[in-house]
Symmetry: C2
Subunit: 573 residues, 2 copies
Amino acid sequence: MKISQLVGTRFKETPAECQIESHILMTRGGYIKNVGSGIFSLFAPAKRITQKIEAIIREEMDAIGGQEVMLPVAMPASLWKESGRFDSVDSALLRFTDRNGSDMVLGMTHEEAVVHLVRDAAPSYTSYPFMVYQIQTKFRDEPRARGGLIRVREFTMKDAYSFHTSQEDLERYYELCYRAYERICTRTGIPEVVVVKSDSGMMGGKVAHEFMLLADAGEDSIVLCGSCDFSANMEVAECISEQPVFDDSPLEEISTPGTKTIDELCALLSITPDKTCKAVMFRKNESDEPVIVFIRGDLEVNETKLRNYLKEEIHPDTAHTDDVAYGFCGPAGFTAKAEVLFDRSLKGLGGLVTGANKEDYHYKGFSPGRDGPGAEYHDFAKTYEGAVCPACGNRSVRIRKGIEIGNIFQLGIKYTQSMSMQYLDKDGVARVPVMGCYGIGVGRLMASVCEASHDAYGPIWPMPIAPWQVQLCALRSDEEIVKAAADTLYDTLLREGVEVLYDDRAVSAGVMFSDADLLGVPLRVIISPKTVGRGVVEVKTRDKSFSEDAIIGEAAVFVKTLVREILDKYAPV
Amino acid sequence: MKISQLVGTRFKETPAECQIESHILMTRGGYIKNVGSGIFSLFAPAKRITQKIEAIIREEMDAIGGQEVMLPVAMPASLWKESGRFDSVDSALLRFTDRNGSDMVLGMTHEEAVVHLVRDAAPSYTSYPFMVYQIQTKFRDEPRARGGLIRVREFTMKDAYSFHTSQEDLERYYELCYRAYERICTRTGIPEVVVVKSDSGMMGGKVAHEFMLLADAGEDSIVLCGSCDFSANMEVAECISEQPVFDDSPLEEISTPGTKTIDELCALLSITPDKTCKAVMFRKNESDEPVIVFIRGDLEVNETKLRNYLKEEIHPDTAHTDDVAYGFCGPAGFTAKAEVLFDRSLKGLGGLVTGANKEDYHYKGFSPGRDGPGAEYHDFAKTYEGAVCPACGNRSVRIRKGIEIGNIFQLGIKYTQSMSMQYLDKDGVARVPVMGCYGIGVGRLMASVCEASHDAYGPIWPMPIAPWQVQLCALRSDEEIVKAAADTLYDTLLREGVEVLYDDRAVSAGVMFSDADLLGVPLRVIISPKTVGRGVVEVKTRDKSFSEDAIIGEAAVFVKTLVREILDKYAPV
């Protein structure tokens, strides 16, 4: 294709609304255009990239026995009522009413739709296991769309669903899919992926993993270990503090007028936050009942862990209750009506400062085991940089930011049971199949690769997903000798099946190269009066790792071979 | 793929909710599953067919310089407010409010979205012409979804949009696209397509064509000529009646008690409907003002023509107005407050029976030219079987049913102007580009092919879009010699790049062949103890036009060659 025909403009200025690199570069490069909050249109270069990503995903899904199907974007709410998620999922599920007054939803995920599709289609155990997948548009009414294609409301997703006659078979297939995801990451050129255990959230099920690209622009906090290969999403990572040092100083009430925060308390008493015990208040969504978590003052409550412990939705408490001395709560003598929980960071500690449950007073010398109401300890804390690794026991926990590219879930029978899917086993007994699901966001994968692979001038697309394999830059194509050589090379490369973007515009080298940088095509071929004078073309990689001259007459073969060699580097081992 | 792994069941019973053949056969064959009114999921065979159709469409769009892009399914209503269609389009446009309270719509067509995408992307005349297209999900909240995939609410569509600096250039490109559509029809194996002039409806613009498959299941009425190649959609087809015979009998009031319909009147007076003049009442949607059309009693009013004449939306009048003698209206002495229009079928006629504008009375001997209020005549009538062809003048108009597979529109500047898209011409003057748009419904195309190409036992898919090219039926695969031969042939065909569905189930020949009929794979290869005994396999076409034995060792080459030969038949000339 000639660049003069490519619809889209490229520019230098950083758009005001863009915060992260992939959003900036893909806007500046004419890949995407924002249509509304979290909604984008794709120009041809982005569409070409997503098509290549989709082709790789398809191959890997087909290779593990997947069958591509198509489920609806808009579907009757009745399906989501069957599974119970119509009520349990928050307003990210877009609900609307059609012209006939029927309740509808826009698919944000398709467990319900896929069970509807297959529940009568596999009546016998002989049909199992099977996996169906689709690549389809989804809509998730995110409150805070941000970061270009990283967190959007409308997106293209590959979602796969497998069905099994046993948990063991699900686990066997889950492992297959895990490996397929690793191959997808390798083949699409994502440089640094970690796979972390994650919370299954609204999806249900127990075991879940996320494929994470480490990137500062990520929204997820990933827990890694500096000493071993442990990794987990912050949401589920166990928090283990260093060995506590017990301090048996006696409990003593102290006056702390107007000192409501841990920071104020530490400043007043010249102590560090880990020498305090603080209260964090929540409320249960359904009953509005208060929940109070006592935790070491330097730690934060991990809401996911708390939610999973309580088995219900909670939110931070902002309402005030008369019987609570806000800012002065402590476990000793706490009598307000609330569910009281203790984080295990407090276990074995002593000599802490904590609230005395009356305005303007704290205790010092508090020891939870000695002075507390005698409670069980549970893990409710967010882990932290330098915490103890749950795997190797070293104090080597590291926190990194990551972008979730894919996720895989062992769903169990949550959907198949609620939606009455059954098959007959060998003995003619009706059984409920076990289910797994496996997602990858196509647009987010594209943006993530850009996040991970760019320089100040533009994206550096890995060859397997690049919008074109080669960008042919003809400088001074008004000179007949340049134009003739460039045209011939262009035609030859096309004939050889190489994907070429040809720039024969009458623009300066500066404009031509800055456009080429923004388009991020991995291989660049430059023809100019100077190179033609030497009988060669210049062949360079976008990442600057390679630069060589090729004799004009041999350039097509040279370039084609190079494309092939670079592609081969992305083959999974 | 082995058929035992294919998700989906096939059955004999005609589902109660299915009226037309494609719906019946594609439900019975495990292609589609109804999710809700006008919403379907696709099983793997249907998904494979649509992917092949999409690949053909892509090739043809790329061949005429198209660039594939991606526009959103859900978009801000503000775009549709810019173009004015948020108000002008009826409730087929699904409107909803997102969690932030913003008005949104689901795209039923994407003129607004595409102008939003490209309006800043082609600032100079040098970028023109260009065409962008997408293959994307659309939602149209049809009041009456019916006929399986023929009239649905959610569907996959290829929609293309071209932009030009002149009407002439649009016309040149329109012609290119017209030819591309013809090639798409040929290549996807649609047997009988007529291209008809059509109304541009809510799309705007003047010239529009529809690509119609002639089929009894179709919802559109197509006007053809038995003598020449004239064709048009009923909506726009000119109605020319035979030469009128003037009858100068005098106007005379007659008593017709309780005779409100043309049928009753004809029975009472022993005349035929063409000897009457009837009144058809409408109301303007906006002003509620009544509109009355006088027309020859045997003809019907074509609402599209009336709408286009009035340049506003109308609906049949169901309200009653005091000053109108319903059932007894006629042009002579009609004084009620209404816009009065005359269809040209009345021109030059005499001796008609028509209402006398008072309860229980008609006139006979009415002659519009002599006794009417002196009006202009316009063409408001639906044409009819045996009417005069507007092209050749013969009384040879034929009416057929058709399914609209694709449509192309010369939109003009309706969207580019209202949405402020401009470019600078050679002289630096800002101008508004001229636009065309070009749609094809992918799922409807699939169902239409099934409508046109099936027998009592199932679809007969044309080779280029068949879910598989070859179905390999191994009868008695429990016999080692059969299984060995079939497995070898299967492996060889796969290696040769032939798409094979392999049936090695332990089922009867009856079940195996009726499944194969439902799956409609164009080429069938049968291996059984009998054929192996003769050292051959049987090779048959699904349409029964071909049946031959091939020597087992040569069968792979034989089949591969046959597939290639059959594919070649669908190459455009």
